[in-house]
Symmetry: none
Subunit: 314 residues, 5 copies
């Protein structure tokens, strides 16, 4: 009987909780390993953060270095902008699957009205060889009325070409700051949910942090989340963190979630966070600076440890 082979089903087991199209699934298959898990190396930070990342223990500014790191580390994908895809990733000739990031913004202008503009199109991404498209949605930004239709258009194009859409679900802007900030459970759960409602195939989220004490009495934050924070404040740290991450995964309602690493942290922290995310049932990780700013040997070593963590999750 067709589809009866359990191993084949397993490879896409994170994509069984909601409907996906054939094109999405056939291509998502390339972004996961035999265990159905993803480990993505994102390298769009030189657009987002300026050239400061040249300050690294590795050859971090060199796209050739990054591509080799992805290949040698057995990553299931890299996420880069068009120029890097066309000029550097192309030399790998598809050896590591490509998520082409198609919008971005710099760190230079004020971030209070954050908006991520096109650096390429879905068709560009497909042409250059991408198996998926990456889009940054700024949840809650005052420019959401430009962002949402832009994302809807990207989603439509992705459907037209059968391409998975990975949404960076990022709360941003002055209103989010006023209501508790981009790293709160409130903001991240809502952003993950929004990405799902917009039709994301895969959702990239940051790991939520405890809101500060002032959040509890912030009249602009919804009562429900203030009570949640109050409750979590009284919970052991580990348990609270697990709850926070579990809730982001739950907010995505079966749309697979990749957790990002955020700014550089030490090995123990990284692995601890990763473990929490794995327990929460994430699809995998999309760790950039924490990989390519480390010295190459250390980066490969911690990559192996992440893969072990992911595979033990089964």
């Amino acid at each position: 009987m067709l589809m009866s082979d359990p191993h084949k089903r397993d490879r896409l087991h994170h994509f069984r909780h909601a409907n996906f199209t054939t094109g999405e699934l056939a291509r998502a298959r390339q972004l996961v390993d035999d265990h159905g898990k993803s480990l993505i190396l994102p390298y769009d930070q030189f657009i987002e953060h300026d050239a400061r990342h040249l300050d690294a223990a590795s050859d971090a500014g060199n796209p050739h270095y990054i591509m080799e790191l992805a290949r040698d580390g057995g990553y299931t994908g890299v996420a880069v902008h068009y120029g890097i895809a066309a000029r550097y990733w192309s030399r790998l000739e598809g050896a590591v699957p490509l998520i082409a990031k198609i919008n971005g913004k710099t760190s230079i202008p004020p971030q209070d009205r954050a908006f991520s503009a096109f650096t390429a199109s879905v068709e560009d991404a497909v042409r250059v060889g991408a198996v998926a498209v990456g889009y940054t949605m700024y949840y809650g930004s005052p420019r959401e009325s430009e962002d949402l239709p832009q994302l809807a258009g990207v989603r439509r194009e992705c459907e037209r070409l059968g391409v998975p859409l990975v949404v960076w679900a990022y709360p941003r802007g002055e209103a989010i700051d006023r209501k508790g900030g981009r790293d709160t459970s409130y903001a991240l759960e809502s952003a993950a949910r929004m990405a799902m409602e917009m039709g994301a195939t895969i959702i990239k989220s940051n790991v939520p942090q405890a809101a500060g004490a002032e959040f509890l009495s912030n009249p602009e934050a919804p009562k429900y989340f203030r009570e949640l924070e109050r409750e979590l404040l009284q919970t052991a740290d580990d348990e609270a963190m697990q709850t926070r991450v579990d809730r982001v995964v739950a907010a995505a309602q079966g749309i697979p979630v990749l957790f990002s690493g955020g700014s550089e942290i030490d090995d123990d922290d990284l692995l601890y966070r990763a473990e929490v995310c794995v327990k929460a049932g994430c699809l995998g990780f999309i760790f950039g600076r924490n990989m390519w700013k480390r010295e190459r040997g250390k980066a490969l070593e911690i990559t192996e440890r992440l893969k072990t963590l992911l595979h033990e999750a089964e």
Copy 2:
């Protein structure tokens, strides 16, 4: 003689007071039951209100749960955004008709210049299997000059594809606030009328509330409505409420009206309001939070009572 069967005519009796196209009628037929009444379960609140609705007596955050609730409750439609339609509603394979909501906004940025941006297109809605399209019009918003042409474009697309257009006729923005607020008869009657003038097939309205005492002397509110409020203040509550709801239905001038439930209220309140709306001659209800935030058994129970109310209206 053709068309002689009285029962068949009955099914679309709410659509006899104005002209509708064949496509609209053929599809509106699917949104009503044998009595010609609609009971719609809207589930777009996780975009409009953030993830706070996870706090519910039910599995409210789970779209699969919601779809099953709609099916088991015998709803004549669900109203959801594209992501939920494509990923979750799709599993019902049309068992409950779909109204695809194609615009939205979050609760995060200030609401004084409210504008609801596209989350999908009319064509997306049709492709995924929708029998109607939902659009939020913010009557009186400072951005109405963007909203009205956008709505006109949606109406045109709906006509091109023969699809009913359900307009969420919502007064919003700083000017409405200044002139009495979004829940006044003044605002809601005007919004319902506006939706009709823009070509809505069906109008969704909130139930109007008494304006506060300050409205009577608010120089920005029109004299006519200040006098109406003064008069209604001197009327028995029940009668005043009936008048308010009757007036919204009258403002729509034969374009069928669905009343929404708004924020959560208790059973008695809900049923009382519903009865008023039925008496006013509404097409039916579009109650979301008041259904899916209730515990499932209670939600199904009150659903039955609403259906009974609707059917007794004939």
Copy 3:
């Protein structure tokens, strides 16, 4: 658990053997009854055959009469060209689902290079309220190089709008005639298969007939089918007929098949054929002339008998 209700699955049980999109399924649902069976009244013969059909025991030339017949007989669909859809079906306001036939040809020019040209577009069909589109493919016609791309374009439009595509899989043209004729198993199986390969949602086929003795020695007919005919010649008629019909259904490989009635036959013949088709596992019938050329009372009576047959199939 979602989808666990066996009854709901049953309604689309003919659509479980291959993949269909959500739009297709949500609309196919309207073309089947509670038993998952279809009974379609086609009325495109005044284009295909000229006005000869005015010669009927009923008011066959009157589209109003036909529409009422479909409604009163409880048909799950009518299949008509655009003019009739827009002018007459529209009065039923969707009471009987519409399959809009979008191509046709007359009986006037020679049929040796048969080609069925557009009488309307998929978008026309959707706008007027159709839940499905009908297309005639002339398998084996010398003009197949015009027909196949035209059909591919219709299929693409149907996908764009989520609409089921019903393919009239008709062998036609001088080459088919030379190779045994349009009613052979050879021709009809190949045509049904072709419709499947082109992406049909539902396939309309005629009931195959025994090829004449000359087929056995026709050097242009494939050896395989000559041997099949030889074998069936030596089989009891009933069994041979069952085999022929079974084979058409098998050729469609799980894409649901509707059998047409062809030219007028008597009641016994009609019911006998229908029974064979039901045993073969067809989706239902699409009987035109055999219905609307009969006197109305008789047509309704035989309609009931067909429905009984279909429902007993479960």
Copy 4:
């Protein structure tokens, strides 16, 4: 140093003799195994040859069976038309890469002016999840002036979406027949070269056969090829065959060549031919009827032997 890993280079070693784009290479990578070889299961014969292939030792008419055979046999691709891709291949969710065949013709009308018409578009292919597109070019057909621009358009679309273009390089039509026939070295070398000149990524060719004695004196056949045939007639059969196959590969000038199996032959013949093709440096095989018309066990067994042959080639 990037690209220094010899194994990774090896995987695309058949694509080193000419320029290919990144999109082509990234996707061609999926069509080859770790040895850089391809084994493709084509299943477009029910369009090309009618339903005669139901006569098989296996469940050959069932696309689900074929897809499972491809998966279990470890094929590096299947080649099917759109309907099968969308309805059946889709259930494999990309487990076996897809070459979507986008043009075809039936065996019914006369073949003297052969032309293969669109059954789908390049964009359809990509959307449904294909990694490559298949196109049949009829070299020498009187309708070449329709065929060549159509192919040029397909090639352009393939470039726009970065998709490899596999050209079925088939001599056909009355003129080819008059000049020696479709299976001559003359015809097949010329067709392979034509495919290369039109921009094919991969060329599918049949294995050339000795032209008959009448070819030597056929005034319409070019002198060069008549002399070649004369010479090969005086050569040992094995050597002549090797020369013929070598020449097809040479005609493609570094564009990778897949050899097809043609009509069913016995195991020894098949393996003998395959060995000749491997020696000639082919990319691999695209054997259909010789696989899926065999009983499943035998098909899998001979599949293994083909893979062994291919891998010994390195």
Copy 5:
């Protein structure tokens, strides 16, 4: 063996560190001399700076004069806007290759929200005879959300037509000013990197300057760059300057860099800067005012010295 001639490789040796398309390379070849170096005469300053440049030791305002200067000085290209290309450069009939500058802005409105608008299209450029297109990107401008998609569109058009894209990578706007200014290493490295990420074929950069002392304590400037500045302050001037220029070339990661001359400086300064740039491995120079505002004889003389410098670099 193809490509084995070392001299031919040398001519494009600056284009060996990343992937470029054939169209780009075939045309880039015309922008370099036998040593693979570029010397471009830009003449777009009458748009950017108003007519102030009429004040020159030469006939600077006369495009005919400029074109002749380029030809007589042996420049490998001129960069001008469409009007000059069509009216004046055209008389050279391709004697000096053309880079058509297709966007610009005047010096008149405030520069805090700098945006460079189209003065022509890529297709205009190709039609008039350009071998490359020039585009000004304002890194960090508050209008980057308009600039980046515009640049992405230009890049896409350049690819469609196989044309090299020369990006003027210019930091600009109020935010850049606040964070240290347009001539800092911080700004120029980040801008060069951005141009690479956007897909530039060649990057034009200014020579970075030491940030002022206040930069060291500017909280808006990234810590990494403040530390870099601190370090360079303690380094000998020559070495610091070499480091700065080296870093811009490194930021471009193998995408060839042209350095501009900026405002007029004296001969020694000019040659000193040029030498530093050559040592850093630049592709060449794009010096405008420093050429055409000099008296013709002097301009030609210093041109020769620049060429000598460039050629000694090998």
